[in-house]
Amino acid sequence: MKKVDKETLKLAAQHLMFEMSDEEYESLLADFDSIISKMKILGEIEGIDDVEPMTFPFDVTNSYLREDIAGEPLTREDALKNAKDIHNGMIGLPRVVK
C-alpha cells in the first residue's frame, strides 16, 4: 500500500477537483493513521481472504432489461435550467484543451 503523507493527500484532492488548507491536510493525515491501522486489524480476521468481496447486500440477480423504446426527452429548457452560461442551447465553458 502506498504510504500516506501530505503530498499523497494533495494529489488525491487534485484528482478529485478540490483544494484544502494545510491545516485540513494535517488533520486528515491523523485520521488516515487510525483508518489504516483499523483496516490492518480487519486483514487479520480469520477467513477474510477466503471470501469474495461483496458488492450487493444479498443475491439480487434478476433478468430485467428495459425495452428499447424511446421516451419523451426533457425539454431543452428543463435540461438546461440549472446550468449557467447557455449559448445557442448549449452549456458554455472556458475552452477545453484536449
Partner: protein, 484 residues
C-alpha cells in the same frame, strides 16, 4: 383543535367525518413549520402545497394519506421544489423530476409541505453538518442536544408534531438513530423494497429510502404505499408486496428473537438496559423466545470501519457529478479545471472532502486490496455472521443506541469516531439489506431512547408484528415533544 399531533387514522377519521379539511390540515402544518425553532426546514412549500391541496382529487378521500401533510428529506428529488441535500454546492438546484416516493405519496393524496435539513449529502450522523447549521432535538428545550442524523430535519419535524409522517434516507443508521433520540418509529425496509429513484446517492449499496412515524401501525401502512417494483430503479425488487398491517396482531408464540451479546454488553446506561429488559419480559410473556446470542466481537467491531471505507468509496464516485457544469453553484475560472476546482472547493464542507479523499484513496490500484476490497470482504463476513443468527431467529433486537441524544459537540464528529460497538452496529442492516425498525423504549431525564429490531430480507410483516408487541409493552406511541 390541533391535528398534526395525531396518528394517521385519527386524522383520516376527522377528514371523513368532515371535522377538518385537507386545506386546514395543510395550513396547520405550514404554520407549525414556519414557527419551527429546531432548524428542521430547508424549504417550506407553502405556495406549492396550497395549490396541490386545492387540486386534490376528492375521489381519493378514502385513502388514509388523503390530505395528509408530509415532509421530505432534502436529498430526495422534488420537481420544481429546491432540493439541496443541505450542501452549498446545491443551494440553487431545482430538480426537473420527482422521486418515486414523492410520486407515490402524492398519488395517494399526501401533500408535501416542506423539505428538511440533513447532514451535508447525508454524510454524517449528528445533524450538525448541513449548510444551514445544527438541527436541534425538540425534546431538549435548552437546544443543547443533537437529534442525530443524517435525517435530522425529518426527525425534528415529526417529533415536534409538525407532520404525522416524515420521509428520510438511511445509509448507516440515518433514520434509525435519530428515531431513538426522538421517541419515533424509524423504519428502513429491505434493500430494493422501496424504490431509490430520486434519492441522491450517498453509497447506493447501503442506501435506503425509509421514514419516520409515531407508531408502528402508521409505519406498516406506509410501506403498503411505498413498497414495490419500480422499473426506474434497477435494484428495485420483484418480490411480491404484502399488506404489511395484516399481521400486526398475530400471536408471538414460537417467534424467536436474538439479542446480540456484543452489542448489549457495550450499553452501560442503566435506564436503557432496564427498559430494554422490560420489553424483553413483555415479549416473553407474549410467547416469544428471546435468547442472547454471540457474534464474533471482531466482526462487530469491524462494522464501523467496513461501513466507513465502502460508503466513502462509493460516495466519491456518486458525487463526481457535482462539478457546477450541468447544475449546482458554479464558480467561474479561467479553465475548465479551474471551474470544477473552484466549484467543488467552495461547495463542499471539509468533512465531505475528507470522505472523498479517503474513498478515492481506498480504491486506488495499489491500495484497493488492503482497503476497498478488504472492506468488501469484511462486509461479507459480517453479513454471513448475521445471516447465521437469522437462520435460527426471526429477529435481532438490541438498544438502538447506548445513550440518549448527546450534547452538541461540533468538534466531535470527525471522520473516524472511536469505535463503540453499540453506537455503530446498526449499519449491519445496511450491509445485508435487512429491514430494520427503531421504536421508543423509554425516557431518561425526559430525553427519549429506543430499541432496534431487524429481520431477514423481505420479512417486514414479521418485523412489524414484533414491533407492534414491543410498542404495546412500552405504551409509547404517538409521542410528540411538547412545545412550552
Amino acid at each position: 383543535m390541533r391535528y398534526m399531533d395525531k396518528n394517521l387514522r385519527e386524522i383520516h377519521n376527522a377528514i371523513i367525518s368532515n371535522s377538518v379539511t385537507p386545506l386546514e390540515l395543510v395550513k396547520e402544518a405550514i404554520e407549525l413549520a414556519k414557527n419551527d425553532d429546531n432548524n428542521a426546514f430547508e424549504y417550506i412549500c407553502e405556495k406549492e402545497a396550497l395549490e396541490k391541496v386545492r387540486k386534490l382529487d376528492p375521489s381519493k378521500k378514502n385513502n388514509l394519506l388523503y390530505g395528509i401533510p408530509v415532509v421530505i428529506k432534502d436529498n430526495i428529488s422534488t420537481k420544481d421544489i429546491p432540493t439541496t441535500a443541505s450542501s452549498d454546492l446545491l443551494k440553487d438546484y431545482v430538480p426537473v423530476f420527482d422521486s418515486e416516493v414523492v410520486t407515490r405519496l402524492e398519488n395517494e393524496g399526501a401533500i408535501i409541505i416542506g423539505k428538511t435539513t440533513m447532514d451535508e449529502l447525508a454524510m454524517g450522523g449528528t445533524g450538525t453538518s448541513g449548510h444551514l447549521g445544527t438541527t436541534y432535538n425538540p425534546w431538549d428545550k435548552t437546544k443543547t442536544r443533537i437529534i442525530g442524523g443524517s435525517s435530522s430535519g425529518s426527525a425534528a419535524a415529526i417529533s415536534a408534531g409538525v407532520v404525522p409522517i416524515a420521509i428520510g434516507s438511511d445509509t448507516g443508521d440515518s433514520i434509525r438513530k435519530p428515531a431513538s433520540y426522538a421517541s419515533l418509529v424509524g423504519f428502513k425496509p429491505t434493500w430494493g423494497r422501496i424504490s431509490r429513484f430520486g434519492l441522491f446517492p450517498f453509497a447506493p449499496s447501503f442506501d435506503h429510502v425509509g421514514y419516520f412515524t409515531r407508531n408502528v401501525y402508521d409505519s406498516a401502512y406506509l410501506l403498503n404505499i411505498l413498497a414495490g417494483r419500480d422499473d426506474k430503479d434497477s435494484s428495485s425488487s420483484f418480490e411480491p408486496i404484502e399488506d404489511y398491517t395484516k399481521h400486526l396482531e398475530d400471536k408471538l408464540e414460537g417467534t424467536r428473537i436474538a439479542v446480540i451479546n456484543g452489542v448489549i454488553d457495550n450499553v452501560s446506561d442503566k435506564e436503557i438496559l432496564n427498559s430494554f429488559n422490560k420489553s424483553i419480559e413483555y415479549l416473553r410473556q407474549n410467547g416469544a423466545i428471546v435468547d442472547y446470542v454471540d457474534i464474533d466481537l471482531i466482526l462487530l467491531e469491524a462494522i464501523q470501519p467496513t461501513y466507513f471505507i465502502i460508503s466513502s468509496s462509493e460516495s466519491t464516485s456518486n458525487n463526481a457529478n457535482l462539478d457546477g457544469i450541468k447544475f449546482g453553484s458554479r464558480i467561474e475560472g479561467k479553465t475548465l479545471e479551474e471551474v470544477m476546482v473552484n466549484t467543488r472547493t467552495n461547495g463542499f464542507s471539509r468533512r465531505i472532502k475528507d470522505r472523498f479523499i479517503i474513498g478515492s484513496y481506498s480504491m486506488l490500484e495499489e491500495n484497493r486490496n488492503e482497503l476497498f476490497i478488504r472492506a468488501q470482504k469484511c462486509r461479507r463476513l459480517i453479513v454471513n455472521a448475521f445471516n447465521n443468527v437469522f437462520e435460527k431467529y426471526d429477529a435481532i433486537y438490541c438498544p438502538a443506541a447506548p445513550t440518549i441524544a448527546p450534547k452538541i459537540n461540533l468538534k466531535e464528529d470527525t471522520v473516524f469516531n472511536k469505535v463503540n460497538i453499540s453506537e455503530h452496529y446498526m449499519a449491519f442492516a445496511n450491509m445485508g439489506g435487512f429491514p430494520s425498525i427503531t421504536l421508543p423504549l423509554g425516557f431518561e431525564n425526559s430525553m427519549p431512547f429506543g430499541g432496534n429490531l431487524s429481520s431477514k430480507p423481505f420479512q417486514e410483516s414479521k418485523l412489524f408484528n414484533i414491533a407492534n408487541y414491543i410498542e404495546k409493552g412500552t405504551g409509547l406511541s404517538d409521542k410528540v415533544a411538547k412545545r412550552d
